[in-house]
Amino acid sequence: MIAEIVAGVLFAGGLFFHGVAALGVVRMPDFYTRLHAVSKAETAGVVLTLAGLIVLAGVSLTALKLLFVGLFLFVANPTSTHAIARAALRTGQKPWRRRPDHQESP
């Protein structure tokens, strides 16, 4: 019962970060800003959700496997995001500016 409540709180935190990532995917103006929103918020959401699952699983081999999934996603998610951003930059995608006619002025 206590474990369910703690897991529910952790799930709620994770879902908040997933919601922020989804909001960024819809609302941000160009590709790089969308990627920025997804990368950080989704990594935080994944870690919190998996922490809730570990609390639900208790002390077992399953919890160890869940910890491994969490560590893997914690490393792999920023890595794949970085690879996508580098590919976009090397193929000449331009970052978004607020006013295209005043690009040179700071």
Binding site: E4, A7, G8, F11, G14, L15, H18, G19, A21, A22, V25, V26, F31, R34, L35, V38, E42, V46, T49, L50, G52, L53, L56, A57, S60, L61, T62, K65, L66, F68, V69, F72, L73, A76, N77, T79, S80, T81, A83, I84, R86, A87, A88, R90, T91, Q93
Partner: protein, 88 residues
């Protein structure tokens, strides 16, 4: 209804946003971003459904395999489009 199933249902609703970006993205990299987020969310939904149905010991292996495949697929697609594919 357990708390894990409720969280899985909310995550499935959030996956629709990534499907929108996957279908409508202006550039191919937007689609790649949608695919990467879709894979991560699918892993989490698998694990949450496993916890909801009391079979987490089986589903955790499936989730680990899916996370590995999604990561390798995203890296491979990014390398392919970096070397020059169709950019629209």
């Amino acid at each position: 209804m357990s708390v894990a199933i409720a969280a899985a249902i909310v995550l499935l609703a959030l996956v629709l946003v990534y499907v929108y970006r996957l279908a409508m993205g202006p550039t191919v990299f937007d689609r790649l971003l949608g695919l990467s987020g879709f894979g991560t969310k699918t892993t989490l939904v698998l694990l949450l459904a496993g916890a909801g149905y009391e079979r987490l010991d089986m589903f955790v292996d499936l989730g680990l395999a899916y996370a590995l495949l999604s990561f390798v697929g995203a890296i491979a697609a990014a390398r392919y489009f970096e070397r020059g594919g169709q950019h629209r």
